[in-house]
């Protein structure tokens, strides 16, 4: 286990280095003088001078990268040019909202995707299998911002069951929070449920035709026991790994979902930052999502190592 961990950590260091180069490099894409681009349309000379000094723009590129990286390592992601607040504080403030949304989306996707995948595999080549496959294609092909608009039209405008947009803290009003978040969570989790359904189906089909499932059936176990105790438990291992890896993609999807439903998470933060030319915030959000992805990747690998004895040989 120790050697495995060391090897994985050794792989992470260069990946993190390249992530930092990539994100720092984004600033170099700004056309012309970055200070003028960041200063916005007013082009106030005082602001330009401040930005040039703040981002060490008169110094060579490697030195600027060094300054930026030393700040990042200390948890300093720079300062929002517009709001004049540390980017780290802004992200930490918005993160719980996005995490709640992504977690609810993940749970809904697991519930829908795994259930549909199991039914589809068990009832292979029946109408239930075809229906589940149609559902998966629908999920993979529907742009989530369109689905969001359609659901608002149905559940908020026509039926009046759920609020069209907005956010309430769960500590203030749990019921209000859940009713505001259920629609965005479904919209965000929809495509992921489709991916999970396909993976669960193919993993279940593989497991259902394996020897130990045949043995369990031969021992006279009822079909429900075979499916739930023997097949599903093993089929879920790759599905859960996929779930951990896809959490990063879910965080990416929050950008659109939070914009449609006006949820003040970090997806909305990056969109507002883009339009305010608040590039430090954009870099901070990309860095955070990449770090979360790498950390989850590592956790998934460790979990896989622990549950799969063949990897320990």
């Amino acid at each position: 286990m120790g050697r495995f961990l060391l090897r994985r950590l050794a792989q992470i260091v260069p990946t993190l280095f390249f992530v930092s180069v990539l994100i720092f490099g984004l600033q170099q894409l700004l056309p012309g003088d970055p200070a003028i681009a960041m200063a916005g349309e007013e082009r106030d000379p005082e602001t330009i001078r401040y930005l040039r000094e703040k981002f060490h723009l008169d110094e060579p590129l490697p030195a600027r990268y060094g300054y930026w990286l030393s700040g990042v390592v200390r948890g300093d992601l720079g300062e929002s040019v517009r709001i004049q607040r540390p980017v780290t504080d802004l992200i930490l403030e918005k993160l719980p909202v996005t995490l709640q949304l992504a977690t609810m989306a993940m749970l809904l996707a697991l519930l829908i995707g795994v259930t549909a995948g199991v039914i589809s595999a068990v009832k292979k080549d029946t109408w239930l299998d075809y229906a589940a496959n149609v559902f998966a294609l629908w999920g993979l092909s529907t742009p989530n911002f369109w689905l969001g608009i359609l659901l608002i039209l149905l559940f908020a405008v026509n039926l009046g069951w759920l609020p069209a947009s907005g956010y309430v803290s769960p500590f203030e009003d749990l019921k209000g929070n859940l009713s505001a978040m259920i629609m965005p969570a479904f919209v965000l989790g929809n495509a992921f449920a489709a991916v999970l359904m396909r993976h669960t189906r193919s993993a279940m089909l593989q497991v259902l035709s394996s020897d130990y499932v045949r043995t369990a059936r031969a021992k006279g176990l009822n079909e429900r026991g075979v499916i739930l105790k023997h097949a599903l438990r093993n089929a879920l291992i790759p599905v859960i790994t996929l779930g951990a890896l896809s959490f990063g993609e879910l965080l990416g999807g929050t950008v659109l979902t939070e914009t449609i439903f006006s949820i003040p998470g970090f997806g909305k933060l990056i969109v507002d930052a883009v339009f305010n030319r608040d590039y430090s915030v954009v870099q901070g959000v990309v860095l955070l999502t990449a770090t979360v992805y790498i950390a989850l990747n590592l956790l998934a690998d460790i979990a896989y190592f622990l549950v799969n004895p063949r990897m320990r040989v």
């Binding site: 390249f18 984004l26 056309p31 911002f145 359609l150 990309v286």
Partner: protein, 257 residues
Amino acid sequence: MVAFFLLVALAAPWLAPHDPLATSWSAVRAAPSASYWFGADELGRDVLSRIIWGARASILAGVVSVTISLALGVPIGMLAGYVGGFLDALISRMTDAMLACPFLILAIALAAFLGPSLSNAMIAIGVSATPVFIRLTRAQVLSAKAEEYVEAARALGNPHLRIALRHIFPNIVAPLIVQATLAIAAAVIAEASLSFLGLGQQPPAPSWGSMLNTAKNYIDQAPWMAIWPGLSIFLLVLSFNLLGDGLRDALDPRHHS
């Protein structure tokens, strides 16, 4: 279905019943009727004509973005897989770094730094989708390299470039075509997403994503403004997904279950 959309995009000037940019105050948010089959938008522009012209932006974005990904990803992936060693390790870690950034977030960040326009959105989407092609090409080259025909070509003294281009490349094209078709579907959604956020096609030029962005403000008064552009994105993406699935079944016998 893909051919249908291509035809619509190509024949847009002849198919569109109205000028997609022409405003009409008497038709502001007009419901679907004989003169405006799909209704009119908040400026009285014909939604059907904008959908037909918008097909161009979506298909162009899908195809150009994936062409960029292929042009960057395939040579880099072949280099990593064929040369191996330190270069492979370096390219693989750089690919990991790009894959660590969620596709849409990276595309938004790139589009934001490059500036909002359809061409920059295509570059942003193309670059963001590149690591998938690097990884796929590298894996395919690694497995092709171990085949006997490659060893035979090497034994005959063929130069490396010739082996890579004449012997390995033709044998890895099939999975790349499948992946490219599925990537076009993802790129169409990504372009619509960027246009929805205001980072893609700029108004007044028609684009399905930006039409949806405007439509969300009039959802209770003019739902047709949202239904048609969304349905168009859905059908175009669905058709590329079906084409990709079909090609995979036809070209890769391992995916038949």
